[in-house]
């Protein structure tokens, strides 16, 4: 009986989960490179670039993601910037997570001693070669644990898109629950989130292991 019911609602939960995965995927794949670029900008020699980016990071980290989401979807149309629900969600998430990633990468870049750049310079590597072959691998190793935390947060944060009416996993569970007056959908939603975070945790551990061959 219960199994039958679970089987019945599973497809709608799965399509909700698919939405969650998409938001997760696009945010991660775009915010990480953007975060690296912003973190380099935060260390720029040009002061105005630093100010603007610092302000941006401050704003994004100092206000709730929920507010930013509502602002992008319901607020921006006031000034005739109109997003589809899905695009609004992705846009807000990228904006928010880029700021967090930038801050993490900034810390990572700061941890690389000046001597590494100097020894690369006397070996006549270009700036770009130095970044690519020496600095970025070391920064990545430093930031992987913090990026991992944010990644797990992102899976859970993605449920916030609920507020702009996007059909994600949480919404699918909620609909089934109010329609059928049972708690089972929410339990299933919880299990699916746990599965997703478990997979992410496993992948992150693999990445950390990959970087454990050197110190």
């Amino acid at each position: 009986m219960m199994l039958n019911y679970a089987g019945e609602i599973l497809p709608s939960l799965m399509s909700g989960a698919w939405m969650t995965v998409q938001i997760f995927f696009w945010t991660l794949i775009i915010s990480i490179p953007l975060g690296i670029i912003v973190s380099l900008g935060l260390r720029s020699r040009v002061a105005p670039i630093r100010w603007v980016l610092k302000f941006y990071v401050w704003l994004m980290r100092g206000t709730p993601l929920l507010l930013q989401l509502i602002f992008v979807f319901y607020g921006l149309p006031v000034v005739h910037i109109i997003f589809e629900r899905y695009d609004a969600a992705i846009f807000a998430f990228i904006l928010n997570y880029t700021a967090y990633f930038a801050e993490i990468f900034r810390g990572g870049f700061q941890a690389i001693p000046e001597g590494q750049y100097e020894s690369a310079k006397v070996l006549r590597l270009t700036r770009w070669q130095t970044l690519r072959k020496i600095v970025i691998p070391q920064v990545v190793k430093i930031v992987v644990p913090s990026i991992g935390n944010e990644t797990i947060n992102l899976i859970k944060d993605s449920s916030l898109v609920y507020v702009i009416g996007l059909g994600d996993l949480l919404r699918a569970g909620n609909i089934a629950m109010s329609r059928d007056v049972t708690l089972l959908p929410l339990v299933m939603v919880g299990v699916i989130y746990l599965l997703m975070t478990a997979i992410a945790t496993y992948l992150l551990r693999r990445i950390e292991q990959h970087y454990s061959t050197w110190r």
């Binding site: 100097e118 020894s119 690369a120 070996l123 006549r124 110190r215």
Partner: protein, 213 residues
Amino acid sequence: MLELKNITKRFDGRTIINNMNLTVPDGQILAIVGPSGAGKTTLLRCMSGLERIDSGEFRLDGQVFDPYENRDNDKVIGVVFQDFQLFPNLTVMENITLSPEMVLKQSKTEAEARAQELIDQLDLTGKETLHPFQLSGGQKQRVAIVRALAMNPKILCYDEPTSALDPDLRETVEKIILSLKASKMTQIVVTHDMSFAENIADQILRVEPIKPS
């Protein structure tokens, strides 16, 4: 032959090196000694292009060159840093071959063959695939020397090559420096250690801190 002509270096208006003149003939070893703060490291950093000089010029084999700007394949000065500054993410072999491949455009095979020669010569055989954290201080230093040599420098500089090592490794460093001299490498060694300087050097330069006037 390396010549320094009227080299002056200031930091924030404070003169660290004042009108220095100096000649280092090919294949010779110059030791730079002097108390802490005298500007030994600063001089080395100017020669290797890490600091810009305020006035004066460097000549290599009679030709003026600016180590701060010069990025040609020729006329290079190699540096072995006090704390070695190996790249922790790369293996010993990769540390050595990175620049020859990326800058001198040697093929991987070519770069590795040359690296292997130097590795064997400096008694690092078997360490090729290790990462720097797996090496002792003396081994790290030898990797740093090999890494610098692999770029075919005309001159090799060391900043305090004995300071980060156990005292009993001092002799090993002396032997390495003297064996490189035997293969005609011009070397400049900054050191606190007077007896070490006397053991290796053809020429000893004493520097003193400049008193603010």
